[in-house]
C-alpha cells in the first residue's frame, strides 16, 4: 500500500491519544525491583553495564558449505543453542538480564550490585569473559565439525531507559541510552573484550592494567589472563566451559535437525509463527531505520522525568508508525532495537527487482513519516531525523530463545552491510546497495541517489514522497504538459492521457504573474 500522509496523521493522532490516556510510569530501578513483569506502560531508568557479544566471523560462517546445507538448518540450531546458553549464563550465573538478541549480537545488562560501580564494572568484564568463552570454546566442543566462532564483546556503563514492548504478555525489552549505544559500537577484533572509558575508569588500578588503550576505548590483554575460567571461579561464579558445553549438548539433543522445518518464504514472514523448530529463508532487503541522536537526547533528560516521559511517548509513536509502515508495504518488522527498527522486505518472492523497489519505497515511507508527520504534528522533542540503511540478499529468518522470551532475528551477509551504512549515516540519509540502485526504474527517485565513495553505497538526503511529488509536478509544469483533474482520485494528473480520459477534466493553465509591491 502506498504511503499516505493523511493515514499516517490519523493513526498517530489516535495512538497519541491512547498513550496519553493509558499514561506512562517512569521510575528509577531500585533494589526491590527487577526487570521481570515490566508492563508496556512502565519504564525504568537503570544504571548498569551493557554487554554486546558479537560473532565477528558470521560472514564466514554463513558462507561455509556445511552451514548452507539443508536450508541453513545447522546455522539456526547453532545460534539457538548459543542464545539459550548465553541467556542462561548472564541471568543465572551473573544475575544480569538479557535485553535482546540482535542477529549476531547478544545484548545483556547487569545492574546488580546497586551503588557499587567498581564491582559492577568488574562483574561485567567477568561475564564478558564467560560469554566469549561460550562462543569460542564451548561451541567448539559441542560442534567440533563446524567453523570455530570468533567472539567480540563491547561493554560500557551508564544510565539507560528500559521498557517492555512485548505484545500479548511476551517479554521484549528495549533499552535506550548512550552506554548501550557505545558498547554496540566498539565490537571490533576477534576474541576481544573492549570496554568504554567510563567503565575502565571504574576499575581498580591493578585491573586497569589488564587493558591497553585503542583510540578512546580499552581492550583486554588476553595474554595477561592465563586462565580466564579460573578467574571467573575465583570470584565465586559457578561457571566452566565444560558445564556450558554440557548444557548446550542437552539443548542440541532436544532439537534434532530433522525436526526443524526450513522453507522458502512465499508470503510475508510472520515472525510470531517462527520458533526453534521453524525457520524461513528468503531473498529480501534488510532495512535499518535508526533515530539519529535519540540516545544523546535520552542521556540529557535522565534527570527530568517529565521530559523523559515525553521522549518515551515519542519513541512509542515512532515504533507504532514504523510497524504500520512495514505492514502497509507488505514487509516484516523483525525487531525494534531501542530507537531502531530492523525490517525485512522480501515480497514478491519471485521478482527480486520488484522486491528491491518495494524496499526502497519502504525506506522513503519511513523518512517521510518522520519528517512530515512526526516532526510536524508531534515535535515532542523537537525535530528528529532517521538514518536508514538497506541491502538486498539471501536472508535466514529465525526466532530463538526460551519459551516466552524468543528473539526474532534475520541473518545474512547483506544485513551487516545495511547496518554498517545505517550506523555511519546521519539523520535524513537513506543508504542503499548498488544492486538496489540498479533495480530502480523511476528516474526521479534514481536521480536523488548519489554514489558515496567512502561508504560504497548510494545515498539520498532528505528524500520524502513530498519531495518526489514536488519534483515530478515541477518537471511537468516546466514541460508545459497538459494538466487535468481526475474525478476518481480527486487529484491533479499530467500528460497527454490527461486530456482524453472521461474521468479527467482538463485544467486551464496560465502563466502566473506578480508585482513587487
Amino acid at each position: 500500500m502506498q504511503w499516505n500522509i493523511e493515514r499516517s496523521k490519523e493513526r498517530l493522532r489516535q495512538e497519541r491519544a491512547r498513550i496519553e490516556k493509558a499514561g506512562l510510569n517512569i521510575s528509577r530501578l531500585t533494589r526491590e525491583m527487577d526487570l521481570a513483569n515490566l508492563s508496556p506502560t512502565d519504564a525504568r531508568i537503570v544504571h548498569g553495564t551493557h554487554l554486546y557479544c558479537h560473532i565477528s566471523n558470521l560472514g564466514e560462517v554463513l558462507d561455509s558449505p556445511l552451514m548452507r546445507q539443508d536450508n541453513f538448518k545447522r546455522l539456526h540450531r547453532l545460534l539457538h543453542v548459543l542464545r539459550v546458553e548465553q541467556r542462561y549464563t548472564l541471568q543465572q550465573v551473573f544475575g544480569g538480564d538479557k535485553i535482546q538478541v540482535q542477529g549476531p549480537k547478544f545484548h545483556g545488562l547487569i545492574h546488580r550490585p546497586y551503588d557499587d560501580d567498581p564491582s559492577l564494572a568488574w562483574k561485567a568484564v567477568l561475564a564478558a569473559l564467560a560469554l566469549n568463552l561460550i562462543v569460542r570454546d564451548a561451541m567448539a566442543i559441542v560442534f567440533p565439525q563446524y567453523l570455530v566462532l570468533q567472539p567480540a564483546t563491547g561493554i560500557d556503563i551508564g544510565d539507560c531507559l528500559v521498557a517492555n514492548i512485548g505484545a500479548k504478555g511476551d517479554r521484549e525489552l528495549i533499552s535506550v541510552g548512550s552506554a548501550a549505544n557505545y558498547a554496540a559500537k566498539i565490537l571490533e577484533g576477534n576474541n576481544a573484550i573492549t570496554v568504554g572509558p567510563k567503565l575502565w575508569s571504574n576499575l581498580s588500578e591493578d585491573r586497569k592494567e589488564l587493558f591497553f588503550q585503542v583510540g578512546n576505548s580499552y581492550v583486554l590483554d588476553e595474554s595477561a589472563i592465563e586462565d580466564p575460567e579460573e578467574i571467573i571461579r575465583q570470584h565465586s561464579y559457578e561457571w566452566s566451559i565444560r558445564d556450558a558445553a554440557d548444557r548446550m549438548e542437552k539443548t542440541v539433543n532436544n532439537l534434532p535437525l530433522n525436526e526443524i522445518d526450513s522453507s522458502e518464504a512465499r508470503v510475508r514472514i510472520d515472525f510470531s509463527l517462527l520458533g526453534p523448530k521453524t525457520m524461513k529463508m528468503c531473498s529480501g532487503a534488510s532495512v535499518f531505520v535508526d533515530v539519529d541522536k535519540y540516545s544523546a537526547t535520552i542521556d540529557a533528560l535522565l534527570e527530568d522525568e517529565a521530559q523523559l516521559g515525553n521522549a518515551l511517548r515519542w519513541l512509542h509513536l515512532f515504533r507504532y508508525e514504523m510497524q504500520h509502515l512495514t505492514v502497509d508495504r507488505d514487509a516484516a518488522a523483525i525487531q525494534h532495537q531501542g530507537d531502531r527498527l530492523q525490517a525485512l522486505s522480501h515480497l514478491p518472492y519471485d521478482d527480486d527487482g520488484e522486491a528491491m523497489r518495494a524496499a526502497i519505497e519502504l525506506c522513503i515511507d519511513c523518512n517521510s513519516s518522520v519528517e512530515e508527520v512526526l516532526n510536524v504534528d508531534h515535535p515532542i522533542l523537537g525535530p528528529l531525523h532517521v538514518s536508514i540503511g538497506a541491502s538486498f540478499g539471501t536472508a535466514v529468518a529465525v526466532r530463538s530463545g526460551v519459551r516466552g522470551d524468543l528473539d526474532s532475528s534475520c541473518l545474512s551477509k547483506t544485513i551487516s552491510e545495511a547496518e554498517h551504512w545505517q550506523m555511519r549515516g546521519i539523520g535524513g540519509e537513506i543508504a542503499i546497495s548498488s544492486k538496489m540502485y540498479d533495480a530502480l526504474e523511476d528516474e526521479v527517485v534514481r536521480g536523488q541517489f548519489t554514489f558515496d565513495k567512502a561508504k560504497s553505497c548510494y545515498v539520498a538526503k532528505n528524500l520524502t514522497w513530498t519531495k518526489i511529488a514536488d519534483i515530478r509536478h515541477s518537471n511537468q509544469y516546466a514541460s508545459k504538459a497538459p494538466v487535468a483533474f481526475n474525478k476518481q482520485s480527486s487529484g491533479i494528473v499530467f500528460g497527454m492521457s490527461a486530456r482524453h480520459s472521461e474521468d479527467n477534466i482538463p485544467l486551464k493553465q496560465t502563466r502566473n504573474w506578480g508585482i513587487d509591491e
Binding site: 480527486s490 491533479i492 477534466i505 485544467l507 486551464k508 502563466r511 502566473n512 506578480g514 508585482i515
Partner: protein, 236 residues
Amino acid sequence: MSSQATPFTDPMRGTLWSPARINRELTLLQDCPFFKYSGHELVAGLLQIRGAITSKEAETGRIQSLKIRIEYPRSYPRRESHVFDDEKCFIPSARGHQFKDYRLCLSFPERREFTLDSEVLSQEVLQASLIWLDKRNIFERTTKWPGEAEEHNWSGPYRELLREEVRRCRSFSISAWADWVIAELVAPNYEGGCPCLSGRPFLGCHLRLCWLAAQYLLYRNYEEELNEHRTAIKAA
C-alpha cells in the same frame, strides 16, 4: 457562448446579478468537482462567492485545500473574476504570486489567457486557481515557483508579449525594429510607417505591435522613475 446572447448582461454596465443569473453562475461553479460552495453575497451590486478548492496529491495522499472568495468585477465577463485567499493562509509576495490584498495572481491581464465573454470563464478561473494552489504549495516547500511565470512588474510581461507577437509575424524587419525599440527605448509613432515595410502606417497595419511597444516603454519609464524615487527615499 457569447454574453450578448444572454439577457443578464448589460453591454454598458456588465452583468446584472439577478437571482436567476446568480443561480446559473453557482451551477457553473458547482460543475467543477474540486470546488465546494459555501455561500455568496452581493456587495454594492457585485457578486462574491465563497467556497473551497480541494485536490489530493497522488504521490502522498495529502489533501490540499484553500478557502477562496471569488469577486466578480463590474466589467465581468469582459474581465475575469478575481480569486482571493479568503482565510489568509499564505503570505502575499510577488515570488509567491499573490497580491498584498491576498488576491491570487493567476495571469497577466494583457495576455488574455482566459476565454472572456463566455460561460466557461468562471470555470477556467477556478481551474487556474487549483493549479495556482498546487504550485503555491510546492513554492512554500521549495521556495521555487514551478513552471513558467511572468516577470514581477508591468514592463517585463509587455516586453515578453511584444517578443511573442514579433515571433508570430516571422518578419526580419519587424524583428529588427523590435530589438531596436527595446534596446534604444524609442517610442513608436502610431502614424509612422509599419516596420513590416508594407508602406502603410502602424494604425492600419500591425497596430498591436505598436501598442505593446508603447506600453512596454511607458511602464519601463514609470518603473525606472519609481526605483529612483525609492532609492532617494532610502538614501534620505
